[in-house]
């Protein structure tokens, strides 16, 4: 049996909103990325798996337990990190995490020990005795991760763990997620709308859109040979795009960056010449390995995901 298994899982809120639409997927242990744009149904899926939201129709099992009837048993072995703020500002990290450890069923002594253990694991030391109200966003995200880990769950559900973090904070959080999954052998599901982040830590990807499964496959299967070259200029991105298009390249403008499809070595020279001839202030040229985006670009009528937005929510880049 799979770690998680859903069959025709559907969730409607009222008659108007369909969050999940006949989702059928099996998820095996590992670090699994659950990707989809905002409103794709990621959070709803996680809440159904926790037994917090009743599906409208269809079935789902977690650790071979039915989410409709065995919710409390499932939650005993699952850790959940919500997307939004969920920490009382007047409590310290130690207070809230050890309290939640008790609620997770740990005896008092074990709760205290595990609290010290997980707070150390997420990198909170002397500040853990201070009130959470004074914490940075990064520290709060670590406390949220710690409370999800404190009862040593078999499965960890993380909803947008890098939400609101700066680039360095995102890197550290992703590294924590990766270590939690690989070194401790814990099954992790990371929901995110940022493909660029998720592919750095995941072994398997489940892509959903509009509540339906787009694709579920090991990360390697998603990666295609063609990549994207991002040319970032301070100004004149439109002029550059026009010029490159005239040169016969496939080009997308994404804010100050011009994304060029790489099929062979040809674009590098063309980009160099174009930037030089137009006299544009070039910031950087980098190869973006966001082949995953193609997955969404191929979907007719669907807007592609933002490739790597610094903060959510980000403006979506236009379709090609």
């Amino acid at each position: 049996m799979a770690l998680i298994s859903t069959r025709n899982l559907t969730k409607r809120y009222g008659n108007a909103i369909t969050a999940l639409d006949g989702l059928t997927v099996d998820i095996e242990p590992g670090i699994v990325g659950l990707v989809g744009s905002n409103g794709a149904g990621k959070s709803t899926l996680l809440k159904i798996l926790l037994g917090l939201v009743e599906p409208t129709s269809g079935d789902a099992t977690v650790l071979d337990l039915d989410v409709r009837t065995r919710g409390t048993d499932i939650r005993q072995f699952v850790g959940y990190m919500p997307e939004h703020d969920c920490l009382p500002p007047d409590a310290s990290a130690t207070d809230i995490v050890s309290h939640l450890a008790l609620i997770s069923g740990l005896p008092r002594t074990a709760a205290r020990e595990r609290t010290a253990e997980v707070l150390r694991h997420v990198g909170l030391y002397e500040e853990r005795y201070r009130a959470i109200g004074g914490y940075s966003t990064g520290m709060k995200q670590r406390v949220k991760l710690a409370q999800a880990l404190v009862h040593d769950p078999r499965l960890l559900l993380l909803d947008e763990p890098t939400n609101g973090l700066d680039p360095a904070g995102r890197d550290e959080m992703l590294e924590l997620v990766r270590r939690t999954g690989t070194e401790f052998g814990m099954a992790v599901i990371v929901a995110s709308h940022l493909l660029g982040e998720i592919e750095r830590v995941c072994t398997h990807l489940v892509a959903i859109e509009g509540g339906r499964l787009l694709r579920s496959a090991p990360l390697g299967d998603f990666i295609e040979q063609t990549g994207t070259l991002a040319v970032e200029v301070d100004e004149g991105s439109t002029a550059l795009a026009d010029r490159l298009t005239a040169d016969g390249l496939s080009v997308v403008v994404d804010g100050r960056a011009v994304l060029v499809a790489i099929s062979d070595g040809r674009p590098y020279d063309l980009v160099r010449d174009a930037v030089a001839e137009l006299g544009l202030p070039l910031v950087r040229i980098e190869q973006r390995r966001h082949r995953l985006e193609d997955l969404f670009r191929d979907m007719p009528g669907e807007a592609p995901l933002p490739i790597e937005a610094p903060t959510a929510p980000s403006p979506q880049s236009g379709p090609p």
């Binding site: 007047d90 939640l100 005896p107 253990e117 924590l176």
Partner: protein, 311 residues
């Protein structure tokens, strides 16, 4: 523990706080006590939080003052009894003192109501305001467990507030009496009514306060709502009575929790309601039924609220 200490110390010099150190992770192999343990833990947490224990100094101000006020009449009477005993009139004073087991509830009912208004929003409002519900509901706990454990913790806190002064009063009366065994014998029959009244009033006032607090994350709204619930029915019934429609007004008083509890108090202690109570015509069963209906109804409303609340 020394490991953690030295690592924490070195982190100051090693770089910015919050850096990640690889010192391993141990699995937890111990017992998982499940739902019952979770409910119990939440109950104790609620009881402690109601008094501000385990929280900052500011959270303790209101409960400490109100508990002090609730104890004040008992302290005053015990003090007066001590004085009276010095002058050899202790037993006469003990019999005629205005504050006795049967009058204590009405003496401090306003303080208990204020305590409800101040502290009930601390429990439910805080969890809703900061989104903590999502963390509770993601654990081995049902939504109804959460609601019931919180309500039970708050009711237990009210029980302490109501019973502590009575216990003080009991010890004062007994120990200051020349005939201690006799005094115990005299006061023992009051234990039943004292307990019954405390349980009824704590459950009714606590249940209603928590039902109001469950509906808003905003502290001020909850406090105002609780005070309104405990005062407005009284005012309405009094107004109706003042207009001369005494039958309707009398029955309307059953909507006022504090009046209902005055009624149960007089039934339990077998005392006649004085002329300042204008609802003496109601049958005894009406007060008890109204109190029980209020308790069951308010708890049902609270459970229903948390069964539906979005997280």
């Amino acid at each position: 523990m020394t490991d953690a200490g030295t690592t924490a110390g070195s982190s100051v010099t090693a770089g910015p706080t919050g850096s990640i150190y690889d010192i391993g992770y141990r699995r937890y192999e111990g017992p998982r006590l499940g739902r019952g343990h979770a409910i119990q833990s939440l109950f104790w947490h609620s009881l402690r939080s109601t008094f501000g224990i385990g929280r900052g100094g500011r959270a303790k101000i209101a409960p400490v003052i109100l508990v002090g006020l609730a104890l004040l009449p008992a302290i005053a009477i015990v003090g007066a009894l001590t004085m009276a005993a010095q002058f050899g009139v202790g037993s006469r004073f003990a019999t005629n003192a205005p504050i006795r087991y049967d009058t204590y509830f009405s003496t401090i009912s306003t303080i208990v109501v204020l305590f409800c208004a101040a502290q009930a929003p601390e429990l439910f409002g805080r969890d809703q305001r900061h989104g903590v519900l999502a963390l509770y509901f993601a654990r081995a706990l049902r939504r109804s467990d959460y609601a019931l454990a919180r309500v039970a913790g708050f009711v237990a806190a009210l029980l302490i507030i109501e019973l502590a002064p009575q216990v003080l009063l009991f010890f004062g009366r007994v120990l200051l009496s020349p005939d201690i065994l006799g005094a115990i014998g005299d006061d023992l029959p009051s234990i039943g009514p004292v307990l019954a009244q405390a349980i009824l009033s704590a459950a009714l006032l606590g249940g209603l306060s928590m039902a109001v607090a469950a509906f808003t994350p905003r502290r001020a709204y909850a406090t105002a709502g609780i005070i309104a619930l405990f005062t407005i029915p009284n005012i309405v019934a009094g107004t109706v009575l003042g207009l001369g429609s005494s039958l309707i007004g009398t029955w309307l008083l059953l909507l006022s929790p504090t009046s209902v509890l005055d009624g149960t108090n007089s039934i339990l202690f077998g005392t006649a309601l004085g002329s300042d109570f204008f609802f003496i015509d109601l049958p005894n069963i009406a007060y008890i039924a109204a109190a029980l209906a209020g308790i069951v109804g308010s708890i049902a409303i609270t459970v229903r609220r948390f069964a539906r609340i979005a997280t």
